[in-house]
Amino acid sequence: MTQFTTRMKAAIVGGAMALGGLTAPAANAEGMDYETVSDLLHLVMASDRAVYTRLIVNRLQNEEGVIKASEHFMDEKALVLPAQMFRFGAEMVAEETDEFTYSLLSLWPINKQNAPTTDLEKEGLQYVVDNPGEPFYGEEELGGTTYFTAVYGDPAVAGACVSCHNDHKDTPKSDFELGDVMGGVVIRIPMDG
């Protein structure tokens, strides 16, 4: 798939998500295979996430020092952390549809609830660390339903990612560098209809 085609499809899926309600991806995906749907969803997620991280958090906190980002953003009147923004979006989607779910996980999670919980998650997260830029696809049965599961590497796109993760008191790994895969986005689509 060319970069242009991928971007166009991502724009269609993203637009449908924004304007047409969250059941739209499945409708647009009719005829597409799970991998393509998942790739497009991830493209939207990763783009939004990178924009927020670079243009909001990294710029305002690390470069201009205007405001800090904090996991206790309410108490400290701070910016929401990029990982929290991603999770809040995922939870909002989950309240609207069960056509797909997504999460941001890591083999080195600061928040332990973001550690892998299934064997396939562990395998996929390790794969994207070992093979930067390559997604991982698989199938797994959870709660009686078979899911298509895709894992995409989540690299450190800005200095803010590295400095926060390396310095956090709960981090299990403190030698991340810019560009390192720090975790992965896991997307699941139920395959049982």
Binding site: E71, H72, M74, D75, A90, E91, A94, E95, D98, T101, S103, P109, K112, Q113, A115, T117, T118, E121, L142, G143, T145, Y147, K169, D170, T171, P172, S174, V186, R188, P190
Partner: protein
């Protein structure tokens, strides 16, 4: 016909009749009190008779649909409360299929997993119906094992997580680790303690007797209603200061003297109060005093509609009439709570009172002392209430009302149980007096921390004897949460940066 056959027919007829009558009451109309499977808990008893408040599924819905529907109704009423609490375990956190392994342990996708109604024999405080060590299900293994990075937690039993004053399942706003560290080392009592929002509310210049007389002389009041005492009281109140006149409440929307005379209502209802005091009215309907007014309580069933819902497209009028005649109307929960129906310890002489705005607020006076203390103590008869007038908090209130301490220094029943908030200069009193009552750590941020340090607040609230004597003395318990949190941050080898 043999005698046996006759008896069989009689037995079958009676059985069908009784079953039909029961099912008709259950699914169509009529009082279902006798069919209630078990007493409901807490405030739910006030709306217990309106079954459809929680049971919204159709009669033939599947078990899984019924469970989903019931759980939706929990958040219909408790959504704002959980959002305000920054819920540590929102159900949405567990719906992702990656949490499937946990569904078999404690299925946290559903409120009813932990809060099962109609089971008084296993119901604990907070309507919890799981054994007290429920945290063990998820936090004793793998990445979620709380003991892995916290040596301080080794040897602790899981029945103490939520019962010791350290953690709550939903609301940990005053208990999360970074908050504990931030507030470590605070004194038990801050210098010159004052509740800042209460100070705003209580700082109001009171008019002199002469000013009241001049003001009253300038008003037009129908002669028949120009009573001296109420008007004197009212003229000195905040209502008068805000130009809320006699007609504003007694004859709303009346502009001329004739209209006031014609529309005069001697005893205006709560709706008149709620016209201006929207926040107070809304929160009043969320607490035990005013729950009967909650907008989400189901209305009584309509026989015709329930028959249609059961699949009868055009129910015969004769059938509807017969049902309405023989099953009687669906009873509705009483909109006004009465002390007779209370399930807490009340003074015998308080029985028979209805709880409306005027129960605690004298209509013309703005008697803070009665609304904030006297009204509560008129009814409540538990140890904590009875000990209040001997407590240091009450002494502060006496000193404030005597002018010896600045506004906001006194601690009344309302200070703690009906905390005030300020937004854009407007002070609102939370009239849901249960909002911060359980677990009592919910009270720490809106109330305690204005005057006391976090460690003292946690210790005090975790000491049942101190709570019972209304905080007359020092805590006899020490909760080590802050010590452990500080130790963990200061000594990375103990857990942080592992």
């Amino acid at each position: 016909m043999t005698r046996n056959r006759l008896l069989w027919i009689l037995w079958i007829t009676l059985t069908l009749f009784l079953a039909g009558a029961g099912l008709a009451r259950l699914y169509i109309a009529g009082d279902r009190t006798v069919l209630t499977p078990g007493q409901t808990d807490g405030v739910h008893h006030q709306l217990e008779i309106a079954c459809e408040t929680c049971h919204t599924s159709s009669a033939f819905a599947s078990q899984s649909k019924i469970r989903k529907d019931i759980n939706k109704t929990c958040t219909t009423c408790h959504k704002d409360e959980l959002k305000e609490a920054d819920d540590s375990h929102p159900t949405k956190k567990f719906t992702n299929p990656r949490m499937a392994a946990y569904w078999d342990k404690v299925d946290a996708r559903f409120c009813t997993t932990c809060h099962s109604e109609h089971e008084p024999e296993i119901t604990q405080a907070g309507l919890v119906t799981l054994p007290g060590d429920y945290c063990v299900a998820c936090h004793s293994e793998g990445e979620q094992d709380v003991r892995v990075n916290r040596p301080s937690h080794e040897g602790l039993t899981f029945d103490t997580c939520a019962s010791s004053g350290c953690h709550n399942y939903h609301d940990n706003r005053a208990l999360y680790e970074d908050f504990l560290v931030k507030h470590a080392g605070e004194p038990a009592l801050f210098p010159d303690p004052v509740h800042p929002v209460a100070a705003i509310a209580r700082t109001r210049a009171r008019p002199s007797v002469d000013e009241v007389s001049v003001y009253l002389a300038s008003l037009e009041v129908p002669a028949a209603y120009a009573l001296d005492d109420p008007m004197q009281h009212w003229a000195a109140s905040a209502h008068a200061a805000a130009d809320v006149t006699c007609a504003t409440c007694h004859a709303p929307k009346s502009e001329t003297a004739d209209e006031v005379e014609a529309n005069w209502t001697q005893a205006p209802g709560e709706a008149v109060c709620a016209t201006c005091h929207k926040g107070e009215a809304k929160t009043f309907a969320l607490g035990r005093h005013g729950m009967g007014r909650h907008p989400e309580i189901a209305k009584p069933r309509d026989a015709k509609k329930t028959l249609k819902a059961l699949g009868m497209k055009k129910p015969p009028e004769a059938l509807v009439t017969a049902i309405e005649t023989y099953l009687s109307d669906d009873p509705a929960p009483e909109a006004v709570m009465s002390t007779d129906r209370a399930r807490v310890s009340l003074r015998p002489e308080a029985l028979g009172k209805d709880l409306t705005c005027a129960t605690c607020h004298a209509p013309h006076e703005q008697d803070l002392d009665f609304a904030a203390v006297g009204a509560c103590l008129t009814c409540h008869n538990d140890d904590h209430s009875l000990a209040y007038e001997d407590s240091p908090h009450f002494k502060l209130w006496q000193d404030e009302t005597a002018g010896l301490l600045p506004p906001g220094s006194g601690v009344t029943c309302a200070t703690c149980h009906m905390p005030q908030t300020e937004r854009k200069g407007v002070v609102t009193t939370n009239h849901n007096q249960n909002d911060t009552l359980f677990p009592n750590e919910k009270m720490i941020r809106p109330t305690c921390l204005n005057c006391h340090g976090l460690a003292f607040s946690i210790d005090a609230l975790a000491d049942p004897a101190l709570v019972a004597n209304n905080f007359s003395g020092q805590p006899n318990r020490h909760i080590e949460g802050i010590d452990w949190a500080v130790n963990r941050v200061n000594q990375p080898d103990e857990g942080a940066n592992q």
